[in-house]
Each structure stands twice: as structure tokens, then as C-alpha cells.
Symmetry: C2
Subunit: 350 residues, 2 copies
């Protein structure tokens, strides 16, 4: 009566059902999926047919229990709901998808405690590797990862002597590039709108790059022009409006494009023409910056390439245990001169 013992509950067929229907052993069915070349063609066909008849979907969890791979990779970002990382996330995901892997993603909102909790949560799910944004991470999280030999790659930022393998761009250089550009255009009265640099090495590096250049050119910036600003178009707009009502630098360098968008809108709101009354520069160049009016001058960070390279690095790392060369991937940066910055002429400035 109850000969349906091997049938898994819920009517979903298991490898045993497929094996029986194809007239082979479960081991052979397993091999059909994991090393098909090992089977001879007729066997392969019988199994394929049986699996398709039954609507079999293999259970990777059970497999992962035995070998070591779950086929899932983690990606932890500060925020998903923000144009900054969106392009990278999608590229990372697509690349994994192409290799029949899946992505577990979570956001921590620049909270390192939370990041650690997320790392633990992902580890409980047996990820084959993980990508973390930047270099600032809790030691506990890093320990958990290294104890388990889970491949880690730090993305977005790049440093030659980083302790983690990293795939990203030199954010200090990005800051330098944009600052050089602004200075070269003759600006001396410059305001800086940057996000909080706590737990944010990217912002820190960019800021350092900008300040280095300014220092080289003997330009000093009053503290009142170094303004902390969240990653938010609306808030940036508000802050910029407040600033511009009482103070009028000739250029504003923003820590990222989101802030720069806010500044652009602030100018429009105030009736200031960019770049005639004010030059605005960002860092990042994500989709949209190019199409503002005028187009935003910024430094392009190849987000898509970073996402792809991060996925590739993790894949290689998990399969071979070795880093692909080059060990660290330094992504190229390029200054995008667009309409939002202009050479300083006599009629503008403070």
C-alpha cells in the first residue's frame, strides 16, 4: 500500500524518483547533473526525459551539504535604494546568473554592527563567497569569514596594499581628478559637500584626494564651506539652498553624484544658472548624471565593470582557491567634463 516511501512530500519528485523512472541508480542521475560527460548518450537521454516528465528540480541544499558549494554568493552594500550601487549590483547579479549561481543581497545603512549580523546570517546559509563594499568592516565579521575560508572581496574602493583582495577604483584619485579639474578652471572659492566619512572609506579617500590637491594649490577652504551632507537628493538640495542663500562660492565639489544632483536642483530653484553662476562637480557618474541639464561634470567609476569583476573574482576564488591575476583589480577612472563646470570668468564667484 505505501510503496511511495521514497516520494518526497508535497508531490515534488526527488532524485530517487527520477532514477527509478530512468531505470538507473540515483548516483547516475546525480552525475547527469554534475558531470554529464561521464554518462553515455542513451543513459543521458533517458534521464533527461525522466527528469522532464516528472518535473524534477534538484535540491542544491542537499548537495551543498555533501560537497562544499551552495552556489550562492553574498553581496552586502550600504544601501540598495540609491543609484550609487544599483548598476554594480545588477552587473554582479547578472554575472552570477550566467554561471548558474544566485545572489543573496542585504543592506546595512552604514551600520557596521548590522553588517556583521548580516555576514553571520549569510554564513548560516553557506555562501560560496561574499563581496563587501569598502575596507571598513567589523573585525568579528572578518574573523568569521576567514575561519570558514569563505572568499571575500572588497569592492568599490581600491588600494594597492589592501589586506583584502579588492576590486574597485582609487577613490583618492577620483577626488584628485575632480579637484584638479575644478582648480584648473580657475576656481578658488570652493565649497565641499561630502557625506559622513565615519565607516565610509570611499568618502574619506575622496575627501583626502580633494584636500590634497587644494593644499598643493595653496587653496584653503573655510570650515563653513566643508559641509556634511547625506546621500539624498532632497536633503542635498535643501542643504545647498541654505548654503547658497548666505554664501556664494564659485564651485561646489560634491562627494558623489547624488549630492551633485541635489545641488543642481537647488540652483534651478534659486534661479542660478549652472555653470555661469556656479560650477557643480560630482563623483561617480551613474546613469542619469549625463542627462541632467547641463550634464554633470564628474569622475566616472565603472560600476558595471566592478560588479562583473567582483563576481568573477569570487567565482575563481571559490572554485580554485586562488585569486585571478591581477591580484587586485584597479579599475580605471576618467574625468567626464560636461556642462556643469566652466572656467571661472570675472562675473562670477563670491
Amino acid at each position: 500500500m505505501n510503496q511511495r516511501r521514497t516520494r518526497s512530500r508535497k508531490g515534488a519528485p526527488g532524485i530517487v524518483d527520477v532514477a527509478r523512472r530512468a531505470g538507473v541508480s540515483p548516483a547516475t542521475v546525480s552525475r547527469f547533473y554534475n558531470s554529464p560527460d561521464m554518462l553515455k548518450v542513451p543513459t543521458r537521454n533517458r534521464i533527461k526525459q525522466a527528469a522532464s516528465d516528472l518535473g524534477y528540480i534538484r535540491d542544491r541544499m542537499a548537495g551543498a551539504l555533501h560537497n562544499r558549494f551552495s552556489g550562492s554568493f553574498g553581496l552586502i552594500v550600504p544601501t540598495i535604494d540609491n543609484a550609487i550601487f544599483a548598476e554594480m549590483i545588477e552587473a554582479f547579479s547578472l554575472r552570477l546568473q550566467m554561471q548558474d549561481r544566485t545572489m543573496l543581497i542585504a543592506a546595512h545603512g552604514y551600520d557596521l554592527e548590522l553588517e556583521t549580523a548580516i555576514v553571520r546570517s549569510l554564513l548560516e546559509r553557506r555562501i560560496d563567497g561574499i563581496a563587501l563594499v569598502g575596507f571598513d568592516h567589523g573585525q568579528v565579521a572578518l574573523n568569521m569569514l576567514s575561519q570558514r575560508d569563505v572568499p571575500v572581496v572588497s569592492i568599490w574602493n581600491y588600494e594597492d596594499n589592501a589586506t583584502l583582495p579588492c576590486v574597485g577604483a582609487d577613490n583618492r584619485l577620483a577626488g584628485q581628478l575632480i579637484a584638479e579639474h575644478v582648480v584648473e578652471y580657475g576656481h578658488r572659492e570652493i565649497a565641499l559637500l561630502f557625506p559622513d566619512t565615519i565607516n565610509n572609506d570611499r568618502a574619506r579617500s575622496r575627501m583626502a584626494g580633494v584636500e590634497g590637491v587644494l593644499k598643493n594649490h595653496a587653496i584653503t577652504i573655510n570650515e563653513s564651506r566643508k559641509i556634511n551632507c547625506p546621500y539624498d537628493v532632497g536633503k542635498a538640495k535643501k542643504i545647498a539652498i541654505e548654503l547658497l542663500k548666505i554664501d556664494r562660492p564659485s564651485a561646489i565639489i560634491c562627494g558623489n553624484d547624488v549630492i551633485a544632483h541635489g545641488v543642481m536642483f537647488a540652483c534651478q530653484y534659486l534661479g542660478l544658472t549652472v555653470p555661469r553662476h556656479l560650477s557643480v562637480a560630482g563623483i561617480g557618474d551613474f546613469g542619469g548624471s549625463e542627462y541632467l541639464e547641463p550634464g554633470l561634470t564628474t569622475v566616472r567609476l565603472p560600476a558595471k565593470r566592478i560588479g562583473i569583476a567582483a563576481a568573477d573574482t569570487l567565482l575563481t576564488l571559490s572554485e580554485t582557491g586562488m585569486l585571478p591575476n591581477p591580484t587586485n583589480h584597479a579599475m580605471p577612472l576618467s574625468l567626464k567634463k560636461r556642462g556643469s563646470t566652466a572656467k571661472l570668468s570675472e562675473d562670477s564667484g563670491a
Copy 2:
């Protein structure tokens, strides 16, 4: 000599190691995590201490193999790299995170074949539930899901008599609201910039809503003013520029805010003042639309609420097998009148 048999490879401790160190059986350690109230306090403390000493992280895969729950939920969206869904994705993720669950996400780019492949891939990882955007899905995918009794919820769009449980807003109504507004402002010369409606029920519903209202008001729109436009600021801008160079409606209704942004920038590029020369309306109201200059008139879709409600529905469904009431969650829609639309005066229009 080889007494370290129970020690799992890679130096990561297992439940057996924790049990030994705490002087209890593995079963008790398991209970510590799954039903702690069952243990008496001293036992609990000993286990907690042992787990912490060893740096134990439990393996949910092994657990999921036995009971039915992996603790991961899937979310499949058309695109991640697009402001449209970003807010919802983050809310969904955060809600799951709060319940100690994780999110597997993937994008299919409006390709239903790919969506089906992704569903299979997620099913191989034993997700406890899945959220799909809209109602247009491959039958194969739906069959796989129902055969395995995996809870599914359709999000973003809402219909009373939908076959799937759904959490979203009535997109037809959204179209009606924005069209009513534009018509009420006296516009008759209207252009429509909408995304492709193939495999996109949201766009279809919105379009139908708009067209219904126009019909009621006996407004006919020339086919040349019904323009297909991708979800892309740059492309929308380009298309809008081409249109406005040769034709000048008094208002443009866009299928979503992304397109509307593009249209706004096109106007700035062409030196047209919004809303004096042209009224622009969107649908969606995602972060950013409010801060454009002028602010974009649009219909607000509560993306965050949708994400939260979708996660909650899935959680309830997977735990109890029952839908939370109300069975279908219809999210409220609201017209946001901002600066980008104005009453038609004599000096504007075609």
C-alpha cells in the same frame, strides 16, 4: 590520534562540537536555537557560552534539509538598476532581515523565459516563498511553484480578481488619476510616452487607465503622439527632444517617472519652461521626483509599503499556509500635484 572525527573540515565547529563543550547532546543544542524555552536556564547559558567560545555558526542548509524551511525568500524583478523598484526592494529586504530571513534577488529584464529560468534556479535553493512583479508570468514557472507549494505573491500591480495573491496598487487607477488631472487642467493636446506593454501588465494597466479617461472626455490622440519609450532617462530625453522639435503638445503623460525625468531634461535642453510651455506628468513618485525643478506631478505608488507588505504576506503564508487578511493588499494611490503641470492658458499648446 584522529579523535577529531566530528570536527568539520576547515576548522569550523559543528553542533556536535558545541554539544560536547557544553556537556549536552546535539539535540539540546539544536533546541537552544529552535525552541530555547524548552531548556532550563543553566543549560541555556552553558550552550550559549560554548557556542560563543567556539565561534559556532549554525548551518541552516542542514536544518532545511530536515524541516522544510531555508529562511530565504526570492524576489524577481524586471530590473534592479532602476529607481523604479529600488525602494521596494530595499524595504522587502529589510523586512526579511528583521525576521532573520534573507533575500535572494534576480532581474530578468522583462524576459519571461529568463524569469522562468530564475524561478527554477531559486527553487533549487529551496526558497520559502517568492515575490514576482506583476501578473505576466510563464505558465511553466507558475506550475513549478504550485507543484511545490511555494508561496507566491504578485507585487506592484493590483487587481481584485487576480489569480495570485497580490500586493500592490491599481495601476489602471494610477493612469486614470494622472489623466484626470491633466485633462482637468484643460489639456487636450496630449502626448503619451509609455514603455513597451509586452510582458508588462503595469504599463498596460496604466495606459488603459489613461486612454479610458481620454475617451470619456472625447479626446483623441494621434498615433504619432503615442510613443514607445524605454525605462531610461537618457533615451527618454532623446525621444522627447525629437518629438518636441517637430510637435508641441501642451502636456505629456509619461508611463513612469523615469521617463518623465527624461522629458523634463529635454525641456531644459530645448529651453522650454515647464510648466509654462509644457506640462509633464509621471507615474510612480520615487525618490527624486519631488526634488526636480519644478517638482514632478505624478501619482504616488507606495513602493516601501508594497515591499513591506509583500514580505509580511510571504512570511505569513510560509509559516501558516494562510493568507493574512485582507487577502489581497490594495495599496492607496495619491495624486501628487507639483510644479510640472499647470492649467492650460492661451499662450501655450500646439
